[in-house]
């Protein structure tokens, strides 16, 4: 059962009709509906391609947040072997909004970390919807430190609405934890690769997404604030999220033009949620290529180039 987004309504109708016809044919052997049904399929396919060819920024936000999109855990299971989770920040707790550990990517040992949103009510609550607390960032810092000392490349999968805005999180130094995590990303002498697989929500994303190579999935988003939040502050009306999404330039395509990210990983037609296997395999291929590229570089060059990249960033605006 496909979970349709609001803008996919007409598509849902056509696909529904085709399904209905086939169901009818199954209960009535004399009926031949295949011709009609496949015509509907074709129509749906064309419509899907059309819809996804030019998604506007607000629609991209909806796709990026689609509950059936592959999440961090899915990517780790599909692409890595010998995944061995490492837990805890050694200070306070283990934050389940952030997962990570040792794993192999195509045989190479790496440290993989990422935000995990969960995929049903129970796991979503357990994962706090991918909103990390300071412990999550401190766990990531610890893991990045291990990677740095043992020469393992770091792969960060970013997918968070933002860092958790809670009382305890503030008391335990949410800001400091994020700042230190970003700082760690800039310090490590190993390849640092970040992929925004869904939502790159503000500072909570930056803490993992400061890398030598930063990639985004075709329909993922990365922004300083959610369109809803921006609309309620600048338009004084949260319903203006479409306008805000437009103005913020949060799509992978705009970010590539701005020089904020290095590459876009294409998604299957209709988004990663519609063809999870292919989407994940494509990310795997892209990761291996990025890793191969960065492995040639010396530790000092990795640090130097990473810093220079951020110092230079934004100097050209949309003309970049």
């Amino acid at each position: 059962m496909t979970n349709y987004l609001e803008f996919e309504k007409s598509l849902a109708e056509i696909e529904g009709k085709a399904e209905e016809l086939r169901a009818l044919a199954r209960s009535n052997k004399d009926m031949d509906v295949e011709k009609e049904a496949s015509a509907l399929d074709k129509k749906a396919e064309a419509m899907l391609r059309d819809l996804y060819k030019s998604l506007d920024p607000w629609r991209k936000c909806q796709v990026a947040r689609h509950p059936e999109r592959p999440h961090c855990k899915d990517y780790i299971e599909a692409l890595f072997t010998e995944y061995t989770p490492l837990a805890g920040d050694r200070n306070f707790a283990d934050d389940h909004a952030v997962m990570g550990g040792l794993a192999r990517l195509g045989g190479t040992p790496v440290m993989v970390i990422g935000h995990e949103k969960g995929n049903d009510t129970k796991t979503r609550i357990e994962r706090n919807f991918g909103m990390a607390r300071p412990e999550g960032y401190r766990k990531a810092i610890r893991l990045m430190d291990i990677a740095d000392r043992f020469g393992l490349p770091i792969i960060a999968l970013v997918d968070t609405p933002g860092a958790y805005p809670g009382k305890g999180a503030e008391e335990r130094g949410q800001s400091e934890a994020i700042a230190r995590s970003t700082q760690k990303c800039l310090q490590v002498k190993v390849p640092m690769i970040s992929v925004i697989i869904g939502e790159g929500g503000s500072g909570g994303a930056v803490a993992f997404a400061t890398g030598n190579t930063v990639a985004m999935l075709e329909h993922s988003i990365y922004s300083v604030i959610s369109p809803e939040g921006c609309a309620s502050i600048l338009w004084k009306d949260a319903d203006k999220m479409r306008e805000a999404a437009e103005a913020l330039r949060l799509t992978a395509q705009d970010l590539l033009r701005l020089g904020v990210i290095d590459q876009i990983i294409p998604e299957p037609v209709g988004g990663a949620q519609r063809n999870r296997k292919v989407a994940m395999a494509d990310v795997g291929k892209a990761l291996e290529a990025m890793l191969k590229d960065l492995s040639k570089k010396k530790p000092d060059a990795l640090v130097k180039e990473r810093r220079q990249k951020y110092l230079d960033m934004g100097s050209k605006g949309l003309a970049a």
């Binding site: 809670g166 503030e170 994020i178 700082q183 330039r249």
Partner: protein, 317 residues
């Protein structure tokens, strides 16, 4: 003779007239202001001499970097460090107003170019580089310019081998610069790394308010964190948290004293004592002898050496 007189006429009459028409900072509109905390009416001169701290209840009101630096540096003398101008309106951002219009309005209202002032000079005869964030300029928000200012300040400090003292004050990132404002988090962190590598002290003075991406980057990466009393310091603001957890927050939550209790700050210091404290800390961190405290004239003139201490009994040979 003619052109010179014309120049005189321009500089003596036309320019001041234009200035008085456009700059609001020169003459306060109101000679009295009311303390928002205790309601006491304060005379502007008295208030400014007290560094914008209420003389009756010690409430710390906003102070612009320019005013702050005039009190901070010896004899009020400092040299402004030029900050490279970033590309303006990089996203062609438009909400209810165009971003360039908002910028122009802020510039006209404050008389400043942008939300951060970088300067070099001496405090207690201790050479430093200082950067001050201006909350009155679009909420002090961090965009490309503020990022450039912090990088420039760090580079200048490294070049001159001086400590950097940064006064933070901001509502967070500048939304009108979208993702590029967010990228100031890693950018300014690179600046902090430069200081660290050069072995130079980096002191952050967190003033009211310091929130969002600013707190979650350079403001929380100092060697020493000092906050002004009752300053709001947080990542997520109290309103956002109340909406999320749907409960009332405790008294004093996210205020400087609360953060001190929770281990996020080294000290909470009254604005009037801040200068002396900075001098004391910086001179120890840079291995210099104790400073002569108090108001010092500008560094140009020769200073008088302190009187030699009388020898203690029993030490004389």
């Amino acid at each position: 003779m003619g052109p010179k007189r014309a120049m005189n006429w321009i500089s003596n009459y036309v320019r001041p007239t234009i200035n008085s028409l456009f700059s609001r900072r020169e003459v306060p509109e109101n000679l009295w202001s009311k303390c928002p905390e205790c309601g006491t009416m304060l005379f502007h001169r008295e208030l400014s001499e007290n560094l914008n701290v209420c003389t009756s209840c010690d409430h710390h009101m906003a102070i612009t970097p320019r005013e702050r630096f005039a009190h901070l540096f010896d004899g009020g003398v400092f040299v402004e460090v030029a900050v490279p101008a970033p590309i303006s309106d990089p996203l062609h951002f438009r909400d209810q107003k165009k971003y360039p219009d908002r910028m122009r309005a802020a510039q006209k209202q404050t008389g400043e170019k942008e939300a951060m002032l970088v300067a070099e000079g001496e405090i207690g005869r201790t050479p430093i580089v200082a950067a001050g964030q201006d909350f009155s300029f679009m909420g002090g928000s961090m965009g490309m310019y503020v990022g450039n200012a912090i990088i420039t300040a760090a580079e200048r400090a490294v070049k001159l081998k001086r400590p950097l003292v940064l006064f933070s004050a901001a509502g967070g990132a500048r939304m009108q610069e979208g993702i590029l404002s967010l990228m100031q988090m890693p950018r300014t962190t690179v600046a902090v790394e430069m200081l660290k590598e050069a072995g130079l002290p980096y002191i952050v003075v967190l003033t009211h308010p310091t929130t969002g991406g600013v707190t979650a980057s350079y403001a929380m990466l100092g060697d020493v964190h000092i906050a002004e009393p009752n300053a709001l310091i947080c990542f997520a603001g109290p309103r956002v948290i109340e909406q999320t957890i749907r409960e009332k927050l405790p008294e004093g939550f996210q205020r400087a004293e609360y953060l001190l209790d929770h281990g996020m700050l080294d000290r909470v210091t009254h604005r009037k004592k801040l200068r002396d404290e900075l001098i004391t800390i910086l001179r120890m961190l840079t291995g210099q002898p104790p400073a002569v405290k108090g108001d010092l004239p500008a560094p140009a003139g020769a200073t008088q050496a302190p009187a030699p201490q009388p020898a203690k009994p029993g030490t004389e040979k």
